[in-house]
Amino acid sequence: MIRFARTDTSLLGRWWWTVDRWTLAAVVCLMGFGALLILTASPVAADRIGGLGSFQLAQRQIVFLFLGLAMLIGVSLLDPRTLRRVTVVGLAVSLVLLALTLFMGAEIKGATRWLNVVGVSVQPSELAKPMFAVTLAWLLSTRNSDGSFPTHRPETWIAIALWLALGGLLLRQPDLGQAFLVSAIFGVELFLAGLSLQLVGLFGLVGGLGLIGAYFALPHVSARINGFLDPTAAGSYQVERSIEAFMNGGLLGRGPGEGTVKALLPDSHSDFIFAVAGEEFGLLVCLMITGLYAFIVLRSFSRLIQEENLFVLLAGTGLLTQFGLQALINMASSLHLMPTKGMTLPFISYGGSSMLAMAVGMGMVLALTRRRIGAGGPV
């Protein structure tokens, strides 16, 4: 174990004493669960895809886990100002990549979300989310001279333009889930930045109407929602298997590797990995995983509440909203609490882009929640 003396003023020494070590530990725990679940869930998926060794997907994912851990720590070393600069550039890059997917993307399961960059397929939308959350926080933390919400300042207009551009690109893929997440980040940050409650209500209404509009305008959305409401609908197969998995699991689960439903679930290693956890490890482990997500979100919120800097408050909340919502939506889909929406379970689901982007996002949260003395005031 590396030990840092409190007087150690090296980069890592300062980091160790100021970073939120509890949250860091929780994220590492999640990654551990992720490694465990990917070992049991991915061999079936590898067989299904064919032409792969049983543990090839698991090996890949574990490599990404370590890369992710390095990324997490690396990003958490940054100070807020550097972070802000990095994210502005990062957002610009991901917007360009997103636009490129529309022209050069590979179509997988009816949507073009992947881009082939020197032999590696990446999902730019994953990277865009944390970049957007931080950039947005920077734009919204500017104030009018009287300190009120900057309704008519150019920064606000830029923020709206960025949201529309990003949301529009995501809808074109189409990836309604990511567009929803980006809009949720936008909404939460606007809310925290002090948008008047009337406007908050108005935006909530518009958002609701937008979802209803999506139901009627996008056939795959209406199919999902019909599938949720009608248990006999054709699209409810995955959810039924998922519920079956949780029922099979009971309190303690069937034991690692003993699950059967994972063989029937096409997305058992990604969107429905929580069901595999439910079947093989049971209620207790699932509650532990849920608890870890709740702990990370709420503990980081409690640290942000003590924050003196509006930018840090907004950025941290935006990032945690993304993280928490993604976990909630994934778990709620698996538990049939809402229509299925393809969304990865942070740090647990299979997927390199998702893992690295999550690591970047949580690295940013850790960077923002580090103890800084006298760091208040406008950035």
């Binding site: 409190r6 004493w17 100021t18 100070d79 100002r81 104030r143 001279s145 009287d146 300190g147 009120s148 939460v188 809310f191 925290l192 930045a193 002090g194 248990p231 006999t232 039924e240 519920i243 949780f246 029922m247 699991g249 009971g250 309190l251 439910g278 049971g282 209620l283 699932c286 509650l287 849920t290 608890g291 997500y293 709740a294 979100v297 709420l298 919120f301 409690s302 942000l304 509440i305 924050e307 003196e308 800097n309 509006l310 408050l313 907004l314 909340t317 928490g324 909630l328 709620a332 538990l335 609490l337 103890r371 800084r372 003395i373 006298g374 760091a375 208040g376 005031g377 406008p378 950035v379």
Partner: protein
């Protein structure tokens, strides 16, 4: 300055790491104001963050609750929907054939076929001995001959059952191989053999629908729905089989047709065969008597003679004809089977099936009009039903006077049963002739047809045909409540150019219910022998009519025809008009 000062005593707070400079444009006064308002903004942010935190906490609690609900509390609960594994759609290269209710009539199963490469068989003698144990139907010598041939490929047996394949696999004889081949299978075997037909071992349609729709069935996935109703088919087939046995007949045929659409609901030809093994059946069994066979139909043709005379305004129901003396024309004599004295009215001629009376009506109608009318009814052409087994009608050429007279009561012209039923359907359904079809027609659509007689004539013919069943030769066809109407027929068979005395075709054609006909029914028995219960009669009235009654009694409920419980007196009054003239004649005759 209202910045919070963190006490330096807190150990995990490192002194100023990251001081952000104040805004360049802010002057001193503005700075104070900004700080105050910035704190307000921060305070709003914090309060709202608390709200967001509460929402998140609530959501995670819901997830936890749902987890407990699913894993612990939902155990052994009823599944929301009952369901079993569904078989995936098979790609067999040939579509299924189903009846009008979707019951499978023909399907394709993947089977294994056994072949051998004789060059690779190490010990042909031993291999033949072993194979013989698994396939006892092949002789040892036969197998040995194949296994010692010079060819590189010989079929040993095609279309193995899974059990046979397993047995052969277990033998482990080298040089034997399986090839997956689709095989046509008919689950109802002989029941629909003549309409569905069969295929050869290479899945080429050779007969029936299998042949006429061969190219459409190939590669299609959606099943082809026939107009046949398997339940009706079964009832008809059973009644005909029983009748054939009872009268020691050599064959029988029957058809049930929807008079509104021309759909053939059942079609049977006996003897039949198993389409799964068509090669084993004699040619006579494969012959479709209902569509390919043409027969002199005998007295059932009197329906057409009466209809043409009524429709052409040649006779009315009141007209009478003298039937006391046989008609002599050249070397022919036309006489009645059961002569009646004195003149008979038109209804009575049909009721008692008087040949003399019908021939006299035909004389009034004339050969030209008779021929034109029968042509209009479609009796001069082969049926357009979707089968290649359709019989060409046989008729005299030239159409002499004697032909006109014999054809009026169904001799001297042979038509297929399917044409006959179509024509009778047109007579009773209000006068519209529709093509016979074996394909299910969409429900509630008007099938186009051509008018052959007027509504009024059709109405009169319905009354007359009902009269035949209530008072005439067809009494034994009277299925209680179903208002059967029709006409019996008995025709001597033409064997070697001569009419045979003891070989005849007994038939009944009719429809039910006569108040508003829904289905036409035809039963024909080939060479029935009379027995004690029929006083040695083997006529249409004794042989075919009882079979019709049995069929109608069973299929009426299946077809959704409501039985009509009429007071016999009421029905009498319905038929008052025709009966009155008949009665009057009786009085006159006495």
């Amino acid at each position: 300055m209202n910045r919070r000062v963190v006490p330096p005593s807190r150990p995990n707070c490192y002194p100023v790491i990251d001081t952000l400079p104040p805004r360049k444009f802010a002057g001193h006064g503005a700075r104070v104001q900004l700080d105050g308002s910035a704190a307000r903004a921060l305070e709003t942010g914090r309060t709202r963050l608390l709200a967001a935190g509460l929402v998140f906490a609530l959501a995670f609690t819901v997830i936890g609750g749902r987890l407990i609900d699913l894993t612990l509390l939902s155990q052994n609960s009823e599944p929301k929907i009952a369901g079993g594994p569904t078989a995936p759609q098979r790609e067999t290269g040939r579509a299924d054939i189903v009846d009008r209710n979707g019951v499978l009539l023909a399907t394709t199963l993947p089977t294994a076929s056994l072949w051998a490469n004789p060059h690779k068989v190490l010990d042909p003698y031993d291999a033949a001995v072993q194979l013989n144990t698994a396939l006892p139907e092949l002789s040892h010598a036969e197998i040995l001959a194949k296994l010692t041939s010079e060819k590189g490929f010989v079929w040993l047996k095609r279309g193995l059952t899974p059990r046979q394949q397993y047995a052969i696999n277990r033998l482990g004889v080298p040089g034997l191989q399986f090839r997956q081949e689709p095989r046509r299978y008919y689950p109802h075997a002989s029941l629909t053999a003549h309409s569905v037909g069969f295929t050869d071992v290479d899945d080429n349609g050779l007969a029936g629908i299998e042949q006429s729709f061969d190219s459409k069935l190939r590669g299609a996935v959606k099943p082809l729905a026939l107009s046949i109703d398997l339940r009706i088919q079964h009832v008809l087939s059973q009644a005909l089989t029983d009748t054939m046995a009872e009268f020691k007949a050599i064959g029988a045929a029957g058809i049930v047709m929807d008079v509104r659409t021309g759909e053939i609901v059942a079609m049977t030809s006996l003897p039949d065969f198993d389409p799964n093994r068509p090669g084993d059946a004699p040619a006579d069994a494969r012959f479709n008597r209902a569509s390919l066979g043409v027969y002199e139909m005998g007295s059932v043709f009197k329906i057409f003679t009466t209809a043409m005379a009524l429709d052409g305004g040649i006779v009315t129901l009141d007209d009478r004809y003298d039937t006391s003396k046989p008609i002599r024309i050249g070397r022919f004599t036309i006489s009645d089977f059961k002569p009646k004295n004195g003149p008979l009215s038109v209804p009575e001629i049909l009721m008692y099936s008087s040949n003399i009376g019908t021939a006299r009506i035909a004389m009034d109608v004339g050969a030209l009009m008779q021929r034109e009318f029968l042509e209009r009814l479609g009796l001069m052409l082969p049926s357009t039903v979707e089968l290649s087994e359709v019989g060409h009608p046989m008729m005299p050429s030239p159409w002499r006077e004697i032909n006109m007279l014999t054809i009026s009561y169904g001799h001297g012209m042979a038509v297929s049963p399917i044409r006959l039923v179509s024509a009778v359907s047109a007579i009773v359904n209000g006068g519209i002739l529709r093509p016979a079809t074996l394909l299910r027609q969409p429900a509630n659509t008007e099938i186009p047809g051509t008018r052959v007689i007027s509504e009024q004539t059709s109405h009169q013919m319905r009354q007359l045909m009902r009269l035949v069943v209530t008072h005439g030769t067809g009494k034994k066809a009277n299925a209680d409540g179903y208002m059967v109407g029709g006409k019996t027929g008995t025709a001597d068979k033409l064997i070697g150019g001569k009419y045979a005395r003891d070989a005849r075709v007994a038939s009944f054609v009719g429809a039910f219910p006569m108040t508003e006909p829904r289905y036409a029914i035809f039963v024909m028995v080939d060479e029935p022998k009379g027995n004690a219960s029929t006083y040695n009669y083997a006529t249409g009235g004794w042989v075919a009519a009882p079979a019709v009654r049995r069929v109608v009694e069973q299929i009426g409920p299946l077809l959704g025809v409501a039985p009509i419980r009429t007071n016999p007196e009421d029905e009498e009054s319905e038929l008052l008009y025709v009966r009155a003239s008949a009665k009057a004649e009786k009085v006159a005759a006495n």
